[in-house]
Structures are given as C-alpha cells and as structure tokens.
Amino acid sequence: MENVLEIKGLTKRYDGFTLDNVNLALPKGNIMGFIGENGAGKSTTIKLILNVIHRDSGEVKVFGRDNIEYENEIKENIGVVYDESNFPDTLNAGNINTIMKNIYKNWDQDAFDHYLKKFSLPRKKDIKSFSRGMKMKLAIATALSHQAKLLILDEPTSGLDPIIRDEILDIFLDFIQDEEHSIFLSTHITSDIEKIADYIAFIHQGKIVFVESKDVLLDTYGVLKCRTSEFDALDKTFVKGYRKNKFGVEALVEKHKLKEQYTIDHASIEDIMLFTVRGRSIERIDN
C-alpha cells in the first residue's frame, strides 16, 4: 500500500527534550491517531513534518516526496489545523476566503461557503467574537477548502465540548470517504482516536512506543483483573504492564495467549496507553 506520510529516523534535540529516532508510516486512505501525553513530542513531530522547525536528522516524505525539497507542492495538497485558531482576530470569514483565494491554487470558494453554512459560521462577524469551537470549525473549514489530500491536525479537538468534538470527528470521517484522502491526527483524547482512527502511533518521552492498527491493538490486548497470588503464578511473557492495589492486580495482557481461564475486560486505547507508560511494565510493547 502506498504511504502518504513516511517518517524515518526523525530526530530533533532540545535542551531537556529529544525527539528520538521517530519512525512511522501512514498508508493512503487511512486515519492515523498520534497519541501521547502533553510534552511527549506530538507537536514537535508535526512541526518537523511541516518544516516549521528544523530537524537534526532523519527524513520525512509526504506523498512519497521529501518534505523540504518539494515543500510548496506538498503544502498545496495538505490541510493543517493546529490546536488553536491562528487567524488575527480582526479578520472575518469573508476575509479569509479572499486571502486563501490568493494563496492556494486550488482554493474552492464553493466548498468554503458550504462549510461555513454547515458549521453555521457568520461571514461578516469578526473572529474575535467567535467561541473556541467556532474558531476551530473555521480553521477546519479552511483546511478542507483547497482540495487537500492529507489533513495534518495537531490536537484540533482539545478544549472542545463532547458535542462539538463529535461533530468535528464526523467531518473527518466524511473527508476520509474519498480513498485518496488521509488524516494524521494528534491528540491526547484517546476516545476520539478510538472512534475514528485506523492506525495508532503512540509516542512517549520523545520515542515511538508502538505503531499499530487499532483493530489489532483492541483485539490483542485485554485487562486482566485477578488476585495477587493468581498473578504471581502467571506466565509473565504475555503481561505488558500491571498495577497492584489492595484488591489485587490489574494487568494489560495479550488476551489470546493466556492459557488460564480468567475474566478479561476489553482494553481501551487509554488502558493500553496508561499501562504501557505507568504500569510497572515487565516488557514494553514492541513491534
């Protein structure tokens, strides 16, 4: 399958933080959720993809081409939304239409109008008077109106209420109906990812912990709840992380590999993330 985004050995060093040898690939037509706690390196990775900051080593390919060498061509075909609106707040939606018409070759005024109506955004009101949700919708409308093939979204839903978040996720699902379209979405809201992502890349302290298809993750792992004595007798090869408390042990396990009959709960992406990072892990989840 053709990769729309490919990152190899990407490294960026800061004083006190290193984005360390990041590797991942997003196959065309899919949504990849890029998860990790605040400060894990999600925004740094996205900024490196966009060449807004300079990498120390590694390479980034978008649509199969180097992100720096073919920067402008790539940027004609991607739509970007950051975690906040970056428009000067004295502008209005009508202004943005005029501005973008003069920036993007493929700016589609009708599409923009369509999204403004769909999101009930006023054309002539200053952005200043918009709520956070409206500002984000405007940024999304802008990202969707120049026939972008890849959306790169840096926590576009953070700080929004569940209703608006759900609306926005529906828009992304709509966008992905076209199989030429793909989405790379960073967030720390794991429930959003669980709703829409095909692939999940998990980053922790500047390092990729895993990149895996969501279905495989959800199918592989389960949360085992048992007594401490039972846990101690267990073959630990299949335990990816555990937490002991006064009632017993909770552990993230490869559920199909456990021979013993236990009740194993469904493991959410959040469970997988938490156990991997915070559980006293016996073995990291590696690919």
Partner: protein, 206 residues
C-alpha cells in the same frame, strides 16, 4: 505574496482608520499653519507603524507557524512585509506630495523643493523600515518597540544638536550635496535589510 498582503491590510484596517483620522487632523493643522513638517513626520510614522502592528498580530496569533503550513516560502513571507511597508510609504509620499503642491499654489515654494521634501520624508520611512524589520524578526515585536523609540528619537536629537551647534553655512552646503547620494544609500540599506531579514527568518523556529 498577494494573499499575505491582503491579509495584512484586512488585519490592520481598524488601526488604519484610526491612524488615518489622526493624520487627517495633522493635515488640517498643516494647511492652517502652512507648515508640513509635523504632518510629514506623523504620516511616515503611520506608514511604519501599520506593518509593525500587523506583525504584532501575527506574533500574538502564531500566524507564522500557520502561514508556513501553506504553499508560501519563508522568503515570500518576509518580502510581503517589506512590500506592505513600501506600499504604505508610497501612498504617504503621494499624499504629502499632493498636499505640498496644493500649498505651493498659495506660497512661494519651488517645485524642486516639493520633490526634495517628499523624497526626503519617504526615504526616511524606508530607512526606518530597513532598521526595524530585521530587529523585529530577530527579537520579536515587543523588544523591537524599544528600538523603535530609539530609531525615532536619535535623528531628532542629532538634528537638534546640529542646529544648536551653530554649523557654518559651508557645512550645510556640504550636507546638501550629500543629499544627492541619499537615495542610493537608502536603496542599498533596504537591500541589505531584506537579505538580513530573510536570513534571520530562514533559521527561525515556530
């Protein structure tokens, strides 16, 4: 480039109106007193303040990070600010020149002097712009504001000192000759300034 300039014009439209009203007031003052110097100085200040205002909006909203996600090179982004500044400078120069010509009807001013004054004022504007933009790209709008005050004050102080020092007529004549070289110096500084700004902006991270 065009899109960026349109965006800046939209961004500063409100400040622009206020500053326009202010310059309008000084224009009236200039016509009544038949003295254009304050009006000239104020309108040049306005032509520099507006691009800087747009940059302070950019900084506040992290616009540059966003602009760089669009098909715009870093060079284009920097150049657009210079073009905006020069455009505003041209508008101001045309207005000053027009007012001067009108005033010249009523007063005994020769046209050569009108052109010289206009060029002098717009040249000063370009000079200020050439000093301030690289400083803003390097240090950010807030810190560069201090420099802005210095840039405006120093020439005034020098002017005051010079007139206090009782220079001889000969040295004034020499200064007059220097004026002919001024346009070349201004253009050279502008080119250097653009190159410097681009270089600073290329290595910047957002």
């Amino acid at each position: 480039m065009k899109g960026l300039i349109i965006k800046d014009l939209f961004t500063i439209k409100k400040q622009g109106k206020i500053l326009l009203a202010t310059t309008g007031f000084y224009l009236l003052f200039a016509i009544i007193t038949k003295n254009l110097s304050i009006f000239g100085a104020v309108s040049v200040c306005v032509s520099i303040l507006l691009p800087i205002t747009s940059m302070s909006y950019d900084e506040y909203n992290k616009w540059d990070k966003y602009a760089l996600s669009m098909p715009l090179s870093r060079k284009t982004i920097v150049l657009s600010k210079y073009v905006l500044g020069i455009m505003l400078n041209l508008v101001v120069s045309v207005v000053i020149c027009a007012v001067n010509i009108i005033l010249a009807f009523y007063m005994d001013i020769n046209y050569w002097e009108v052109i010289a004054t206009t060029l002098g004022i717009s040249g000063a504007g370009i000079l200020f712009l050439s000093i301030l933009l690289p400083a803003i790209y390097k240090f950010g709008v807030e810190k560069a504001r201090l420099l802005m005050i210095i840039v405006f004050l120093v020439p005034t102080l020098i002017g005051m000192l010079l007139s206090e020092s009782g220079m001889t007529l000969a040295s004034w004549q020499m200064l007059d000759k220097l004026v002919y070289a001024a346009p070349a110096v201004v253009i050279l500084l502008l080119v250097l300034s653009i190159n410097l700004s681009i270089r600073i902006y290329q290595s910047k991270e957002f």
